[in-house]
Structures are given as C-alpha cells and as structure tokens.
Symmetry: D2
C-alpha cells in the first residue's frame, strides 16, 4: 500500500554546486503547488541527525534562484555513516511528521539515502547536483554547465596574459575521475592540449605535441589538466618536465580551485534544477521509490539510485577527436 | 560520381549569433586537419556575389573562439534572391576553385543555400546558428545558450531594482515565432509570468494571475514577454492595461534588444560550434548533400535542409508546467 | 550641548543603486564596532512614517555586500513631503529611541532629510548613492562605477552584432541632467559619438560627423545618447533623421533601461560604500550636523547638505576632448 | 632647442595589464588626430632591439579597447639591460625615423626608458600600467581597477561554497610589495582578515582574531593574503597552523594566480587609459621630457620618471581601519 505524502523534507549534501538553490526552490514551490508541506533540513544528513529543521513555504525561496551555493548549507556527515546516526535521523523525521525526503547531491549523497531508505523503508528521492557530471543515468548534473562557463571565463582571462607574453600555461581544473570538465572547457577555451583521467597521454606524447604545435606557429599555449590526470605527475612536476625539454618556453601553472564551485548558476542549470525539483516531487507523489530523477534526451526520467551511484564514465570519443582537430 | 573536395568556402549569413566564430574556426581547422584548403567569404551571400574572399588557415582563426559576432561578418543579400545574383556567386566560386560551401546561419541562410545547390548542383552544407533556436532537426542552435544566459543576467539586474522598489517589470525578449528564449529565461530568472507566441494567454487571465500573485505576498514581479506574443497588444500597451486594472502596481517596461545577440559565447555554444564545424567538413567529405549538421541527443546528426527549414515548433508543454509551478 | 548618540536609524531612499547594501552594512557594522545600536528602516521615508523598523546587528548584514539593490528597499514618499507625514516620522523615531538618522540616496533624499533636521532638530546625515553621479561635493556617488561597467558590457555586446552587420546603433543610457554616464561609458565602449545634456551638438553636426566617420573607413558605429540629450529629438526620431540623411546606414536603436540600476556592485563601489558608511557614523559621533559624507581626492569629507543638493555639473571638458580624439 | 615630433613609437613592456590595449589605441588615435605617424613596436624593448615594428593607423586599433592583454605583446628583455642592446634599439629607431617613444608598463619599463633617454637623449614618455598600483606619482595605474573586480568576483564565487560548508578559506592575491589589491579586494569581498606586506600581523594575532570572529557567530571566513605577506609563512603553512590551532575549522587554500592579469578592462581602466594615452602624446608635443603621465585628483599630470620609479607605498591607514570595522 502506498503511503500518502503530506510533508516532504529537503536537504543538500556533499560538495555544493551552483543551482542547488534553484532545485530547493522548485521542490518547495512544487510542494506549495500540490498543497504539501515542505521542511528544509540544514547541513545535509548532519542536520537530519541534529534536528536542524525549518518550515519552508513558497515565499521562503524568493530570490534564491540566482544564488550560488546552497542556503540550506551542506556537509559531509560521519555520524550518518553509523547505524546510531541514521536512527536519530529517522526519529527526528518521524517526530517532525515528514513522510519523504528529497536529497540533492552526488553519489555519496545517494548512497547514504539508499541505505537509509533500505533500513527504515523511508522514501528517499535523489536529485543529481555536482559540478563533476559523474552520475550515471542523467545526461547532466546540476552545476556542471555553470562550472564549465566559470572555467572557460577563467581561461579566457589567462589567455589574455598568455598571448601577451608568448607563454605556456598549465591549468588544473576539477575532475578527479571524470574528464568532462577538462575536455569540454578545454575545447571551449581553445586549449592546445587536454589531459584527462580517462586517458594516459604520457609525458612523451605531450612533449611531441607541444613541439609540433610550436613549429606550426603557435606562440602561446594553454594546456588543461584534470585533477585526476593519470600521467603520474602533478601539475607542477609536469611544468618542470616541459621546461627542461622545451627550453624556449616560459611556463606558468594555475590551479583554478574552488572558484569552480561557486557563482550564479547559468540559465541551463537553473532550468534543469527547476525541472528536476518539480520532477522529484511528482515522482514521490506517483509513489516511485529508490530513484533519482535525471535528465535524458531533455526529458525528466527516473533512474534507480543503484544505477545512479555506479557513476560509469560517459567518456565521449568523438569529443576527444573534436578537441584534437580544433587545436590543430 | 562523387566530387572530390579539395577546397571549401565558409560564410556566415543572417542574424549573427554568439559562437559563429567558433564554428568558422572549427571548419577552418578541420580543413587544415584534413589537408583541405579553406576560403572565408565575407558578408554572407553578398560577399559571394562580390567576390569578397580570403584564404584562411589554422592560424587565421587564432583567438576568435571567445568572441561574439562573426569576423566574416554577416548580411542579408537581396541580390542572392535573384537568379543573376546566384549566377555571379557560382562563377566566383568556380573561379576561386571552391568545391563546396559551408553556410552558417538560420532558415533564411539554409533556404538560400538549398536553392543554390539545386540550381548549380553545388554542394552546400548548413550549420544552424541563431539565438532563436527555431530550426527543426537540431535540439539546439549555436548562440541560443549564450542568449539565454545574457537574458537571465539582464533580468537578474532588473530584479535587484524591482525588489528594491516593489515594482512590476514587463521585459521583452527576442523570439518572434518561438517562445524558447522567453520560456527558458523566464524560468531561469524566476519570472512570475511568461508570455509566448505559442500560446495566447489573454489579457484577462494575465490580470487574474497578477492579482493572485500579489495576494500570495509577492511584492515585486517580473513578466517576460516574447517579441512574438499573441496577446494582440505590444508591451507598452500591456503595461498600460495592467496599470489601469491593478492600480497599486508601479510598472516599468524594458526591451532587452540587441544585447541578446552579442557577448562571448558560453562554453556550451563553443563546444557545440566546434562539434558542428568539424561535423560539417566530415559530412562533406563523406559525400553528404543538401543537409544541415545538427545536434540530437548529444550526437552530431545530418538533417535534410528541407526539414531544417520547416522550423516546426518544439514547444515543450512540460516546461510550461514547470514555469507555472515554480512561479507559485 | 551635544546629544549623545546611542541608537542610529538607517534607510535607503529614491532610486536604488548598486552598493546601497554595502553602505548599510558599513553603517551597521560601524555601529556594532562603536557599541551603538542600529535600526533598519524599510522603504525609505515611507517606512519611517509607517513605523516599519527592524533591529540590525553585525550578523544581519552578512553576505549583503555583493548584492545589488537595497535589502531595506527604497521608495519615494509623498507623505513625507507633508508636515503631517514628517511629524508621524518624528514620533516614530522618538518612540523607537533613535537618536540620529543615516539616509542613503540622492538629492531628493537629502532635501527631505535637511527639511526634517531643520524642523525637528533631529540629526540627519547623508550618504550619496545614485548611479547618476549628480551630487555636488563628492567626486563619486555609490553605484556610478558599477553602472558604467554595466553600460560598457552591454555596449560591448551590441558592438559584436554592430561589427558583424556594418550597422549603426543609437544607444540610450541613463542621465537626465548629467552626461557623466554617457561620456565615460561612451569613451569606454569606444563610441563614435556621444550626445550629452551639457552640450547641444545639433543634428546637423552629428550628421556631418557620421559622414566623416564613414569616409574614414568605419563600417559600424555606436552612438551613445544620454536620456537628457538636448537635441530636441528623442532617440527614435534621431534614428529616422540619420536614416533619411545617410541612406546606406542600417540603423538600430537600443534603450538600455533598468539593467543600469542593478547588478553586483564593483569593487570600487563596495569600498566607497564601506568608507562612507563608516564615515557617516564617525561624523555623527563627532557631532557633525546637516552634512553628507562624500569622497574627495580619495578622502572622506564632510559636505553641507545644502551644497550637496545643488547638484552642480561636474562636466569635464578634457574628457570631451579625449572622447573626440579617441573616436577619430 | 626642441625637436619636432613627427613620428612616435609605442610599446608595452613588463607584466601585462588590462587596459594596455586601450592605452595603445589612445596613443595611436591621438597621433592620427595630430597628423603624426605612429609605429607599434612588438614585444617591448626586445622588439625594439629586433626591429619588430609595424605602422599603426586609426583603423589598426579598431575593437581593441575591450580586450585584455596587449596586442603589441610584452616581454622582459635582458638584452636591453646591456649597452649593446640599447644601441641596437637606438639605431633601429633612427632608421625607422621615430622621434619619440611612449612606453606603457611599470617601474621596470620606466627604468629602462629613463636609462635609454639619458644615454641617447631620445625622448621617452611613460604610461603607468600594472595591476599592482605600485607606481609613485599617479593615484592609479591602468589595470588595477580591473584586477580588483576580477579578484572580488572570484572571492564572491568562493564565498558561495565557503558559506555552504562553514569553511575558512585562505585566498592569495597578487601584490608582492603593495597590499593595495589585498586591502581593497578584501574590503570589497567582505573578508574577515586581510594580510598585507605593509604590516606584519603575526600569526598569533591572526589566530586570536579568528577565535573572536567565530565566537561572534561567523560560521565561514575568508582571509585574503597578499603574495608579499610578511608573516614569514607561505599560505599553505598558514593554513596548517590555523588548522592545528582552531581544530573545528575546515580550511581550504586558493591561489588566484594569473586570472588577475587578464579580462576585459573595466570602464574606469578604459577611460584612464584613454586619458593617459592622449596625455602622453600631448606631453610629447609640448616638449616635456623624462616624465610619466599619471592621474592625480582626476587630472592628467606629468611626473618625473625618477619619482615614478621610486614606488613609495601609498598605504592608507584609514582603509585598514575601514577593513577592521566592516569585518566586525
């Protein structure tokens, strides 16, 4: 028999991503639209354990759609990894009369949610939000498009100074396991080389390529390196190797870092977050369980949380070819 | 028998769109990659008629990927609508030894190209670039994503002043026949109402909705109106009607205008343009004829120019529902 | 004998300007620093009359420095123009135990404040915040620098499309009485002509100049027109006249409008607002009366409100010369 | 007897700064306006030695005003530090018929220029362009305002993620000897602490301050650290010390790096560059020698190159107080 859902809790967890606020807003407003109550839970699963709740209505989320980060705040909760922690959380939810949970985050968030649902038979639905775009079953995650724009804008700025000085820049972007950010932002920023975790280019081939590039008349170069590059060298070591082998290059390193997580979300991320926030409440009301709502071929789809968690690579070989051709 | 292609001409035509430069660059570099020559044609079909050509190589398109507009410039050519004009164009192409043409633009551009191909059996391939996203057979056109971000950023600014003054703003955005920009930017900017050509909301329902909105506690409001709105009123007339009927509102009108066409392209548009530019040369070399390369489900696809030109609406009813719910 | 000040009220009034939030924040935090209480008054003088007050502490203004508009909201109050209105305001201030008032706004705001101070011998201090930069006694007003950047970014976008099409654009920017925005943004955006209220160029000279400009090889043109231009023609009429007289130009008009008021403030405006907010509380504590704090030669200065209100033009002839030379 | 000046060379040298293009443009157009010829010299003094010259006219600098970096490129030339190098440069200038040189850059650029002028009695005039604002005799250098905005926008993004996670961020900004960028951007971004080279706060006082700040209810913190901070610790060591001493803080480090040098210049920098470019040509024509044109109290002024080079600190104690108060 299906539970009637009258009161929904919403939280954000894990690394924050631009558009999380837009997703919360859509959940809250869809609840208001459906005459369901909505409760915001602060600091992810930790707030669930600490009973850090606040009633939210349609006006509570006024003007948040344009803001980066998450006004519900996020955290990683060690306590929620324990049975005791999750039991506290369950008690708090019951006491607050909450019937279901919308969790906004990445695979860690979904793993926690799935364990919780399995343990307490408590409805949990996921919304994928992480700049890394490393969730299976959804074409895009909330925050990814914004991060790409942030990276490209940053590299555009660095290109100004690289061109002015005939320099080579190594630029580290986020992506420990997935090269999506590096590959797309690298193409977008016109990078000469892109090093991603899915491939191991090898230092020798990189040096070859740089020599060719210089011969072809290029006087400055941008190399985009994903955090998770598998060359076995960190970006500063790479810089040294290049400097030793291609003497005439002046080399600089830039680690873009946390600016990639912030900023006002792009239109795409705001719309995606709005669709998925509405879709999550819709799915709960239809009685769907143990799923994440994702976007596939521009349609909102339901994906088993188990599938989503696997995080299989979506490495696009055609895109690598486009990168190689357009950096000729 | 298939023509061997050794020399490709590329032009941009019709309204300019951010990412056109990225598309030209990809065409040029894919030619370089394939050891094909590439010739830039200035001012669209008009330059074709006036023999306004320039040899382009991989270095010619250095640093253009980040720039709005089109360095080949664009124009609307009346002369190309005549047989005489097109004959001049054909002669110029033959004299320049050009074997095929890549035309970057919208439906007007494709219509011209198709007529030309039919008349002279000269290979023409289209790349969809227009901020309006009104081309059939491709999920997105180059420039559309950038325009959405430009509109959302502009409305965010207007929201600052609207909120400070408890005002209602009517904001006109581009879209004569398609409400894509209005609907998506309206959701992204958190608009209270969105008027699009695909629907005729009717002034009465708009007034009803505004009254409800104010009752619900909203003190400022943004209404996004597509150019092609079918209410039968222009935006200034709408403002007057609202002012007369809802006395307590202070109303302002803003027509965003041509800022929507410009600006540095978003990462998405740069990558899309890179994919389609490469895809166009690929398709020519494969011998494809009378097609446009588009993007569908994130893959580059070939679409008959005839299909592309039809410009059927892609109106997404689910998106309208998301707009209604998130503006509660 | 000097009043001891233990509790300060702060409000924003008139047209909003980016940086007003930063100014409020600085007032609030300087109060906290000096162990003085601070009360926010909503909707300017109207909120004063309606007793719309809220206690503010150092944490209340967290994260507001980056936001455009004013979280205290602004309004124009007709009631405050009457003796009765001002008496209500005075009673409310007394009842709330407020000893002095910081008013953030432009000349209308200061005029109201000065009348109030004269009538009730109640300390009022002004902080100049208006995008128009039309206040005497301060080199710059809060919001002006941000508005200049907003205008220049908008024109950069329009330039993309103007260059792509060899078009002439007439762009209207704010400035009813002062041409500061037009002149500075016009130079910054590389405009070919700039029409400002302080001069009457005359339509004939404009046409002459455009003809010269085209002869010199310019293929696209940007003309920046201040709202308060004295040519006796509105911008649409100007466009028609140019079209009639210079047939080969394709002309477009863009009215930038309210985007100029919004947006996250520039660093300069945030720092200026911080200096003036601190300076205002400092001045109150020093016992200064009937003044505005302004910035002159990068120092915070006190200026009699009477002087500030006069709003004499700061028209800079050298800047006009720079405009003429750099648009050669 | 005064040399008649008929042909001027212009170069950019040292670290690039946004607005250099606008300065070159103003020099070129002022030459055109005065019917003087203008020659661009590539790669600073190195190009002077290598005879890397190009004739520039008013149209050559079309559309460069909005671009970061310098299209004439910049370099540091070891050869110009030798007598032989400078002699080659002099011969090249004479052969090219160049009568005077405008050098755009910082103190290294001016030092080279002054030596050259003294050695060969060749007129050299300086325009201050460096993001560090560390030139004496001018209130601001070209590029500084843009860099401040870039830094503040980056910190705004980091603030999003800092707030979402209750984290403390240490952010390194440029400024080896001058804390201007750190102090102004720190105030603008609402930093809780700002460490600058002009002061040595001491690690102990920093820890004290952070403890106070946390007690006052702050849950996230931004500390801006100038490159040249004198604490004797680098930013990663600082992070470790804080982590050891304030256990409950999660700490992150971000080094903003070269994005600070790039980007489209702000309106202020474009106008400043336009004024100084025109001012430099004006001064040459008036016969002024061994000077830099700077901005003081909003007027273009002439400053002996010797004075400019000294680079005395402009450390503003009042600004430090504003920083302390507004971070309460």
């Amino acid at each position: 028999m299906q539970l009637e859902i009258k009161r929904i809790g919403v939280l954000t967890s894990g690394g924050d991503a631009p558009g999380m606020n837009a997703a919360i807003r859509a959940v809250v407003r869809c609840c208001a639209f459906q005459n369901i109550e909505c409760v915001g839970i602060y600091r992810g699963y930790q707030g669930l354990i600490e009973d850090d709740f606040e009633e939210l209505n349609a006006r509570s989320v006024r003007n948040v759609i344009s803001r980066g980060g998450t006004f519900l705040k996020s955290a990683r909760s060690k306590e929620f990894m324990t049975k005791e922690g999750r039991e506290k959380a369950f008690v708090n939810l019951k006491n607050a009369g909450i019937d279901a949970l919308v969790v906004i985050g990445g695979d860690g968030t979904f793993t926690g949610g799935l364990i919780f649902e399995n343990e307490f038979d408590f409805p949990v639905i996921g919304i994928p939000a992480t700049i890394d775009n490393d969730i299976s079953g959804t074409d895009f995650t909330i925050g990814y498009d914004t991060a790409l724009n942030t990276v490209v804008e940053a590299i555009d700025k660095i290109r100004d100074t690289a061109s002015s000085h005939n320099r080579l820049f190594l630029i580290e972007v986020m992506g420990r396991d997935a090269g999506d950010i590096a590959l797309n932002s690298g193409i977008g920023a016109g990078a000469e080389e892109i090093l991603i975790p899915e491939e191991n280019m090898g230092v020798d081939r990189l040096l070859e390529s740089l020599k060719r590039s210089r011969k072809s008349g290029k006087t400055s170069s941008i190399i985009v390196v994903a955090e998770g590059d598998k060359s076995g060298k960190n970006i500063f070591e790479l810089a040294e190797i290049i400097e030793e082998n291609l003497g005439d290059y002046e080399i600089r390193v830039s680690v873009l870092g946390h600016i990639q997580r912030g900023g006002s979300p792009s239109c795409y991320d705001r719309v995606l977050a709005s669709k998925l926030g509405v879709g999550a409440v819709d799915a709960l009301l239809r009685g769907e369980r143990k799923i994440m709502v994702g976007i596939h071929h521009q349609q909102v789809v339901s994906v088993p949380l188990e599938t989503a968690i696997k995080g299989e690579a979506k490495f696009d070989k055609n895109l690598r070819r486009v990168a190689d051709i357009t950096s000729v």
